[in-house]
Amino acid sequence: MTLHAPLFVAALILGGGAAATDTLLGGDQMTAVALAERIKAGQPTQVFDLRGDEEFHSFHIPSAQRATLGDLIDRSLPRSASIVLYGDDRARVVQAWALLRIRGYRHVAYLRQGLYEWIARVHQPALPADATPGERAEFDRLAALSRYFGGQPRLDVPRAAMPAGYWTAGGDIGARPSVETALLVAAIRRRGC
């Protein structure tokens, strides 16, 4: 069957490409929890929020500054600065990352899952109702972190409502569209944070 060879090659390219992109870009992704720990530990970090003005003022990661791609072209920062980016449009975030790398900054990372990850893992960590002991220990750690930032840990969450991981390395959650993040932010503001 003559289609087999090109399909084989396509699979090899796509599979190999998957491994390559995650290996090369993986080191430049940071989890929201890791960022939270950095901020809490007082390690100097420049956090840039790449979303719109309104969204930024609605809710943003503590200590983050708003920036556009244009800002990042011109902004001068210490060469050795640790920079973390996040936004709700992954394409824009990766562009900004590339931009800063090209400008010569060595320590640039981004939150792969954007603000949603911060909300779901740091601001409102959830403990499933039927948690395993490992999950419970992890939750205790995250709850302490969450309270530092004025967050609200959630207990007894039904398993079906847990932020489910998609191929998560270490239990992170998959990206969510900005609509869902906006709804979550609105809910936080209603409860008061």
Partner: protein
């Protein structure tokens, strides 16, 4: 009668359908869950909905009482599977009232084996939370550890049992 299609191309097609399921329904394909739904409805019909929902094994499948299978995603998916299978066989000239069996076994024993095999698979699918469609295929593509455990266990067991069932198939 048309020849069977290339398995790789059929597989790629199924993979695309599965992607469609992820995109449109937020879940993968499945099959055994539909059977569990139907079994739950039978139970409710036999002993009454109240007693059926008292069982923790049956209750999850009866959110709408006796009518639950009619609102079950997997049940409608399987109805589609049957329809699609029929349509494909019809267009390929492969429809036939018959029993597929090995050359050395009669229809009766073959059907008894099919029934028994179904019983064992039904129990296995309950423990595994799925079957080849739901766990092996859909869960496997999402790299779920339990799904891969299932794949390895199922293939290993099938190969191990093959020599014992030669009379049935060869």
């Amino acid at each position: 009668m048309t020849r069977y299609a290339d398995p790789y191309l059929a597989g790629i097609g199924i993979g695309a359908v599965l992607l469609g399921a992820y995109a449109l329904a937020g879940q993968g394909l499945g099959a055994s869950g539909a059977f569990a739904s139907v079994a739950a409805a039978f139970t409710a019909a036999a002993v009454g909905t109240a007693q059926a929902t008292a069982s923790p094994a049956v209750a999850p499948y009866l959110p709408d009482g006796l009518a639950s299978p009619l609102r079950d995603w997997l049940v409608w998916e399987l109805l589609g599977v049957a329809a699609g299978g029929f349509a494909s066989a019809w267009s390929a000239g492969r429809l036939a009232w018959t029993t597929e069996r090995g050359p050395r076994v009669a229809a009766g024993p073959r059907l008894a084996a099919a029934l028994s095999g179904g019983v064992v698979m039904g129990i296995g699918a309950k423990f595994a939370r799925g079957c080849t469609s739901g766990q092996a295929l859909s869960g496997g593509a999402l790299l779920s550890v339990g799904s891969w455990i299932f794949i390895v266990a199922a293939f290993a067991a099938a190969y191990a049992c093959a020599p014992l069932a030669r009379r049935l198939w060869l």
